[in-house]
């Protein structure tokens, strides 16, 4: 699964730490999601989409391998 979290963060001018605080997770969690190491749960994905005011499938998208 790929995601545009880094781009969305840049648009909103948020650091990883600020985003992490907004959704109540650790900075390492945001970093791991951005690098594709960790796939967040639906709850976390919905919290992220709420922060960026965009639907989940605009931030997260399936890849051919999924």
């Amino acid at each position: 699964m790929k995601n545009s979290l880094k781009i969305e963060r840049a648009i909103k001018n948020l650091t990883q730490d600020e985003l992490a605080k907004l959704i109540g997770v650790s900075r390492q969690t945001i970093n791991s999601i951005e690098t594709g190491r960790y796939i967040p749960s639906t709850v976390l994905a919905l919290k992220i989409s709420k922060v960026f005011e965009k639907p989940v499938n605009e931030i997260f998208a399936l890849e051919i391998s999924d």
């Binding site: 990883q16 997770v25 900075r27 970093n31 967040p40």
Partner: protein, 163 residues
């Protein structure tokens, strides 16, 4: 020293009651939530390990057969560090914790398997495995778990602070 032993037994029961997954009167694994010790408890574990090392250094005794406090103390300290929450406990740390525990349990099965095979390959070589060996084995598993957990969370070169 005997009183300390009894106190540790009580402490283990309190820990068991605290950290054992609780569910709303259900055994359904999806309803069981792992309950961990508070974040600050980690420092009690670290302090405990420091006491064990200071005690052993002061006695000039790092031999587990004569220094009974050594392995018991290390194990107790590591347990408290391993089962304390992170400062920011979230689903990511939950998942790493489960995977790190899985890796250490797999290592345990392999090590026990290898040692039991040694018993057949070279008869009489492993007649009586002392309890100290078991303590060392389990302490090293907790160390494997802690290293894997913290390495995954903080240690990767790509997991650096980024603007």
């Amino acid at each position: 020293m005997e009183i300390l032993g009894y106190l540790l037994i009580v402490a283990y029961f309190i820990m068991l009651w605290h950290i054992f997954p609780h569910g709303r009167n259900s055994l359904d694994i999806f309803k069981l939530n792992p309950v961990l010790l508070p974040f600050w408890w980690k420092f009690i574990g670290i302090g405990w390990l420091a006491i064990v090392f200071v005690y052993s250094i002061s006695k000039h005794d790092f031999n587990p057969s004569t220094n009974r406090f050594l392995l018991t103390g290390i194990y107790f300290g590591l347990m408290q560090i391993a089962f304390s929450k992170e400062k920011n406990e979230d689903e990511f740390s939950d998942q790493i914790r489960i995977k790190a525990m899985y890796i250490s349990i797999i290592s345990l099965f392999i090590i026990v398997g290898v040692f039991s095979s040694f018993g057949i390959a070279t008869p009489n070589s492993l007649q009586d495995i002392p309890f100290q060996f078991l303590m060392m084995l389990f302490s090293s598993l907790l160390i494997v778990y802690l290293i894997y957990f913290y390495w995954t969370k903080y240690g990767f070169k790509w997991n650096k602070n980024e603007k």
